[in-house]
Amino acid sequence: MSAILNRAGRRGTVLILVAGMSAVLAAMTVAFLTRMRSDVSESQRLLQEIQARCALSAALMYVAETARLGWDDPATAVKEEAFGWIDVRDGTPGPKDQAGRPLAPGGAFPAIGYAARCPMHVMRRPPFAISLAVTANPMIADPSKTWAEILGNTRTDPDPVAATLAGFSTGDAGPRFPGGARTWFRVHRETPATFVLACGAGMSLGYRDWTEVALAGDDAVFGTRAAFEELRRDEAILWFRAEWNPAVGYNAQYHYAADRTFRLNRISGPHMGGNDDIPNSRQFGGTFTVIERLRDAPPAW
């Protein structure tokens, strides 16, 4: 009887030890996971701010590019080019075409007082997407063939992702991942050349409020107003004011082929000095004379 008790006692001791160690391990695991969860949660806000800053770069590029490009008069066969948010020819608000006609109707962006909403989802296939796959075009070792045949080049290089030419140029603009965009920006035109840029990281797709969602007919995307507002609360939004100017640099160096001569270089042509391959040295979308972070949401964005 006593031996049985002793054996039971030993089993109990082992059980207590194992249970104790398991409890210690479990407690440590819980503490570790809680700490990691807390870290992830704290990092999330910073990650959102950095995403929003990426959206700021995109917004500035959007303003610079649309100063000249992206407009179209459907009545003509060509894609018109504009002359700036403030037309460089006469100082009036743009964008206008070569004949001075406005390139966009009023009542919406780019009219002053209106905003463009730009959700920044990853597209399933962007326009003009090129495959990352290496295309091999080996020489054909057959002397009986012509030189052109030997050189091969039977496969396109680089290789388009789309199967058709139409698909190559239009792409597939739908969101690649479920849920769509996690980053967005809005460009509100405050004055002819001043823009309020709202840069967001979150799932609201850049809608300012539920009224705007309803007007766009996107109620079903969010379900309810409460769901939309909850998404908005979880977002990080940074507001900036930026002032655009058509001025671009590198005019002094490339007007002349060499210093102290009157021989003109072609604009954007190869420079005789050979250093015009400096990245981003010249572009035609204009620049920004002021960028200002706003502490609070402005009245209109």
């Binding site: 704290e42 800053r53 403030i86 160096q253 200002e292």
Partner: protein, 323 residues
Amino acid sequence: MTSPSPRHGFTMIEVLIAVALGLTLCASVAAALRICSQSVAMVNRLSLENAMMRSGVAAALHDLDFWESYDVPGDPTRQLLDAPGEPFAALTLPAEAHLDFDQSDGQNWWRGLGCTMNRAEYGRYAAFARIDHPLAERRRLALLYRAIVDTLGYYAFCDYAPANTIWSYYDASGVVPIEFIASSAAPKNLGWDCGDSPGDLLMVLDGGAFALTRDPWYRANAVSHRQFFLWGATGAGWPAEWQHRGLHGCADRLATMPARPAHWPELAVLIRHFTGAYRQWHTATVTVASPITGLRQKLHLATTSTTLRGARRMRGLDREPPP
């Protein structure tokens, strides 16, 4: 007579084995607990280091946006660069020198000799525009350049002037001021070191750089009115110390967690605003150093953020006439 009851107990060998097993078990448990404890401590320390890094990045981004380490609105004791000639000085522009840079407006057009500036044999271009020209639109740019350069310094000039600005004008005597054409022989200049042809921002910043800082030594040496060379050397005419510190030293430390416990990681955030290599730079270096392991983690970031003019606009420092 009763038979002797069996003896309940252990043999010596059993006891020794049991004690040895028990000690081994205890040692294992103790070791396990110690490792667990160290793991928890390490996790906490890593978590703290990560938190410090996050905190440093957030502080850096905040300062790059709001420039509060240079100038705190409403607190004159912390407005460190507001003396005349420094970037946060109040700017009152002359009547014809407003900050509207409409490129279609003739008053924003530079008029000068595009190749060689100050040689009379090529013509007297000062007749078209100079700082005392009788026509307001022909003296505007010169007045504007002069006001910004004198009141705020060279870095501010890079920030305020549109990208296509030709960095040159004619003074009242019809020549280009030495400040706008000089070379390394005269370091207090906005010119580019390749002759006396007029340059624009991209040309000057091909090898030159301008910076702002609240470092007392730099400020005492008029950093707001000096050009750095990007490649480090400074040329003749500079104080000897500039040869060592140069542009690299124009970094301002943020006061981060001064009351932290001694065993916490050390957080250092350096902020830099400078122009060079054709563009503006707003950068930060965040360093977290562990006092236990000695490990240093450094993160260098460059952002698109508030420009100097944007920071001054926040503070209402530009008083300009209506365009």
